[in-house]
Structure formats: structure tokens, C-alpha cells
Amino acid sequence: MTRVLSAGRSLDVEPDASRPAGELWLDAAALEEATGWHLRPEGLCEGPLCVPLPEGPRAALVDGDTVNVSGLWQHLGRPILHDASATTWMLGEAAEDRGSRLASLEAPDFTLPDIEGKLHSLSDFRGKKVFLATWASW
């Protein structure tokens, strides 16, 4: 079992174990659940954004229904980290993507639990002014 983390997501998956150590290959369904990316004939897509895959990169990143997620992240210039046993992976976001999302001024949505474990999303409060404030016990 391998745990794949990304901003706001955590998913346990069964990666393709036949791949070299240090590479994370997932089937298209696990890819979508773990990252939101879809494998399409035209390339790899996240929402409306598609990364076209010419023959060269395609061979390195896609094998039938299986996608080289670590290769994709490197191809996109996004940070990717894993522990020594490669059983926990972190798929990070590129600084430009973070910056341009904030520059749109559209408040990034998130879903988090309250102390009872009930989930709430920022977007639940659309139609109200929201004062979003952080704190910590430490």
C-alpha cells in the first residue's frame, strides 16, 4: 500500500509494483482519485487544462492505462517528494500555479473538519462576506 498526498487530498493506492524504485505509476482511476488528473487521448488533463503528450514524452509517461505520476510531476515542474521506502509520496504544486491562482483573487476553496469531524467548505458560505482567520494552540 502506498499513500499519495497532495494539497487537500490523501489516498491509499496500489501502484504498479513492476516499475523501478523511485517511480510512481498509477492506473487512470487511481490517478484521477489521487490527483484530479485524467488520461485522455489528447494527453493528460486537469479540468480544462490538458498537457499534450508527443510520442517521446508519452512513451515515458503513459503505458496503456498506467501513468507515470512521478514523471508527470517532473514534466510539469512541480515538486514531488517521497520517503526512503517510497510508500508515502507528496505531490506538490508549482510556485507559478500557486501565484497565478491567488492573482485571480478567487479565494481558493478547501474542505476541513470541525472538532466533531464534520466537514465544511469555504464555498458553503458563498453569498456572505467571510472573515477567514487562522490560530493555533501552540
Partner: protein
């Protein structure tokens, strides 16, 4: 901390969402939340996701979001001041809360609601180091919770190194190591050095009315 302000403004189309940066999880935040008896929305964020999304580095920080979900004031200090002068702390807080009241009453016409250009100009910069720091923090926190403290601790320390401006990373890491670790001698040494470098632990929000407490 925000309950009175919320009670005062709740019927004016206003919501407060507080997010606890707590890698130890809900139990660490339960006591303070029970005491505050919030009727607003109070959430727990083990991974510091909100700090990641909004480029935050300390607590308390805040963002103002309008009815359409647009940021009208990006990340800034939420009415806190670092001083032993209680009067000054109260004043800073009152000025900040009055600014929120003004925005809730007047919306975009409030002098405290930035235009889109002003809001963009106030966004904290996103750098590759900061993006990489968040990835290290998130993985480190996860490994720490899995009981892999050697590797987890190394990723957390790397996060602090990659973004030395993040007091959240530093203090949360120290708190994971020891429940009282976030306010130890290392914190004060670090804070003194920060000040010596000419940086503010709690920069005042960019509001004309804050001039009364600056200097």
C-alpha cells in the same frame, strides 16, 4: 477571540471561519474551542492546507473574502501585536475589528476593501522555495504521524529551512517535538534575530488607521 464580533455582525450576511493550524489534530484545539464557545465556523487543519493555499506564515493571519468568493484583503496579521503594552495590543485589535465592521456595513465602498489591483499588489510572493517548503512540511507531518519521526523530522526541518519566514512551520515543528516546544528559548532567539534583520513578526495591516499604533 472572535465570538463577540460575530454575534454583532452575524445578521449582516457575515461569517467568520477560523482555522486551527494543528498538526496534533483536533484534540490539541478542543480546549480553546470549547472555552471560546464559537457559533461561527471553527475548523481544524492538520496539514496547514489553508496556510499553503493563502501563503500564510504565522498565526493569527486573516483574509477577507466577499460574497462572490473574491479576496478583498489578502493574507495579513489579524489584529495581533507583539508588545508587552496591553493598551497597544487592545488598540491594534480594536482598529482591526472596526475595519471589519466598516467592510461588513459598506462592502466594496469601504476604504478597507481593496480594489482588485490593490489586492493583487498586497499578495505575498509565491516562490519555488515556498512551494517546496509546503510539500516538505506536508510529507513531514504525515511521516511524523505514521511514527516515522526520523524521516518526518528531517522533512519538517527542511521545510523550516526552505521558508525561514514561516513561523507556522517552525513553531508547529517544535510543538510536535514537545507540547511546550513552540515557545522555548530557540523561539525567542529566532524572534530576536528576525527583528534584528529588520523583519516584523506581526507586520501591521496596511490601513491608514493603523498609523495610530505604528512606530
Amino acid at each position: 477571540m472572535w465570538q463577540r464580533l460575530y454575534e454583532e455582525l452575524a445578521d449582516q450576511g457575515f461569517m467568520i471561519v477560523t482555522v486551527a493550524m494543528e498538526s496534533r489534530g483536533a484534540d490539541a484545539a478542543r480546549g480553546p474551542i470549547r472555552r471560546a464557545r464559537p457559533t461561527y465556523t471553527s475548523l481544524i487543519d492538520r496539514d496547514h492546507l489553508v496556510a499553503d493555499l493563502y501563503n500564510m506564515v504565522n498565526v493569527p493571519q486573516a483574509v477577507w473574502i466577499d460574497e462572490e468568493g473574491r479576496i478583498v484583503r489578502p493574507t495579513e496579521t489579524a489584529g495581533a501585536a507583539i508588545t508587552l503594552n496591553l493598551g497597544r495590543i487592545r488598540k491594534t485589535r480594536k482598529i482591526y475589528c472596526d475595519a471589519i465592521r466598516d467592510w461588513v456595513a459598506k462592502g466594496a465602498a469601504s476604504e478597507y476593501a481593496f480594489s482588485p489591483e490593490e489586492a493583487r499588489a498586497h499578495l505575498p510572493a509565491s516562490t519555488p522555495e515556498i512551494a517546496l517548503a509546503h510539500a516538505h512540511f506536508h510529507l513531514g507531518r504525515e511521516l511524523w504521524e505514521q511514527g516515522n519521526r526520523d524521516e518526518g523530522g528531517a522533512f519538517l526541518r527542511k521545510a523550516v529551512e526552505l521558508n525561514p519566514d514561516s513561523w507556522n512551520f517552525f513553531r508547529q515543528m517544535k510543538n510536535l517535538e514537545h507540547i511546550l516546544g513552540s515557545g522555548g528559548p530557540e523561539f525567542f532567539r529566532r524572534a530576536r534575530r528576525y527583528r534584528k534583520d529588520g523583519k516584523a513578526y506581526y507586520p501591521l495591516p496596511d490601513m491608514a488607521s493603523m498609523d495610530e499604533v505604528s512606530g
